[in-house]
């Protein structure tokens, strides 16, 4: 990752349309993720943020448009193929296997079990000490914050160069949100991150670039610093509009 230039784009989504049943959720969405940066997708409920991530990982089929990852079109690939290319995914509900132990959750996540994976596992467990503590416990008995840690840990234990995380702050206490911010800031060093986030505090703490989604399209985009200064934009898409829902 060090070899890549600062402006290099690792993921490019171009005019993608996605349907869920008969509902046209993504209506020509375009965004990208630059290397060595955290890109944040922001938008109201139903704007299509989660759908965008699921479309990238392939869990939802796109009907039109291109998704280019490391210069390769992946929109026709199946989820497991996309994941093997080095894309990690943390869904909104975290996707924890609650009947399995923490250890088994991690084992399912490890695609290859070699020395490099073992090193990454050590590094990950160092980052999330709680997981080590509850290594043999059923994942379903973990707290919400610990589950989020486990979900992220599963995604970074492989050699991922792009990590898609869907609302990691959802339903977590503020102090745990800080811990998640901490974790993402450390992950940033190894992997590009695309984050769906509604919590402006979190988005502004970790994000470099932002895209605001509205009705399945990108309404605004730019540097997160610019968003922090633009209070009109914030209130339009983050604060007030949520109250309207």
């Amino acid at each position: 990752m060090g070899e890549q230039g600062v402006d290099e784009t690792i993921l490019e989504v171009q005019g993608v349309h996605t349907f869920i049943g008969q509902h046209h959720i993504l209506q020509g969405i375009s965004f990208d993720a630059k290397a060595d940066a955290v890109t944040v997708l922001i938008g109201r409920n139903g704007a299509g943020k989660s759908t965008a991530l699921k479309t990238v990982i392939g869990l939802l089929p796109s009907s039109k448009g291109k998704i280019i990852y490391k210069g390769k079109e992946i929109q026709k690939n199946r989820p497991f193929e996309i994941a093997r290319m080095g894309i990690g995914f943390v869904p909104e509900n975290m996707g924890i296997f609650s009947e399995l132990t923490v250890e088994e959750n991690m084992r399912v996540a490890m695609l290859v079990e070699n020395e490099a994976t073992a090193r990454r596992l050590d590094r990950t467990l160092e980052m999330f000490a709680d997981l080590k503590k509850f290594w043999k416990a059923k994942a379903g008995n973990l707290s919400g914050g610990q589950k989020q840690m486990l979900a992220i840990a599963r995604a970074i234990v492989n050699d991922t160069s792009l990590l898609l995380i869907d609302e990691p702050s959802k339903g977590l206490a503020p102090i745990i949100v800080d811990a998640v911010i901490d974790a993402i800031n450390r992950i940033k060093e190894h992997s590009v991150v695309v984050l769906v986030e509604q919590n402006f505090y979190m988005a502004s703490s970790v994000g470099d670039y932002f895209f605001i989604l509205d009705d399945g399209m990108v309404a605004h985009a730019g540097h997160v610093e610019a968003l922090i200064q633009d209070e009109a934009l914030q209130s339009k898409y983050l604060g007030i509009s949520e109250a309207e829902e």
């Binding site: 990982i57 392939g58 869990l59 199946r78 989820p79 497991f80 994941a83 093997r84 995914f89 869904p91 996707g95 296997f97 609650s98 009947e99 399995l100 088994e104 959750n105 084992r107 399912v108 996540a109 695609l111 379903g140 599963r154 492989n158």
Partner: protein
Amino acid sequence: MAESILRRWNQELTIAGAIVLLLLPLIGIQPKTYLTLTIAGIAMGMLLFLVASGVSIIFGLMDVLNFAHGALFAWGAYVGFTVFKYLMKWVVADSVLQNLAVFFIAIVAAMVAVALLGVVLERVIVRRVYGNHLFQILITFGATIVLVELIRVFWGPNDETMTVPLTFAGNWDIMDVIVYRYRVICIVIGAMVYAVLQLILKKTKLGTIVRAGVEDRDMVQAMGHNIYLLFTGVFAVGAGLAALGGLAMSIFSLQVYPDMGGTYLLFAFIVVIIGGLGSVTGSLVGALIVGLTYNYVAYLVPWAAAGVNILIMIIILLIRPTGLFAAGK
């Protein structure tokens, strides 16, 4: 904490209740007959377990309710029947080794042939209707018609008599309790299959992935595992177990007939509803409940035997709609 204590207490209560229920038939049955019936019930339960575990795990992982499972069961019986027919000398030979050999060959042939049939079924038919329960049931029901009719084309429409390998025939008389040999074999087979399944599911990585898939298929895919290969594999294993069940059952009941799958599919459905869809242990417990009650009631009140399991199923649905051992979902 309180909840887990409650749950444990609940568990112990359940076990105590189960033991009481198990002994209840003693009121109306002589102890020696009771033992014979119990062994018969466990043997039948183990055979039902072989069919039901496939239905259960296929549903748990793939969310597919396979109505063709009964037809696969019948195919297993017929493949075994053919092996017996060609190696009849070994079946009737007064040699434990030859008997065991022919039994083993029949099991392997039935399981492999039907597992392959399962692969074809999954790849050609079931795969097209993932995610749509209605179409799954319809299409697997259609597959049942075709598979059963193919049996009639290949083996003829009539009942055929199945021969018991000589060693397995007859019974032991242990302190005046009559123990049929073949029933013991059935119990051993069922217990072995349960142990192997548990070992695979709990101790191997593949098994762990399957259990993870039962909880959240999408997540398993998004982690880079080829879920479709897994589906095919699980379907094949389920088909193989159905074949083993069919073969074992045909020796148990001394006959094969084209429609034999239907009855046992029903039993399997009752078992998985009682035990909980998606759980192997649930299938075992459900199968034992069905096997034992069937035998007790058939002895005590013969005409009620067919209905009692449906009654148990209805009671379970009323008090615990997801079954005794609901899977993670």
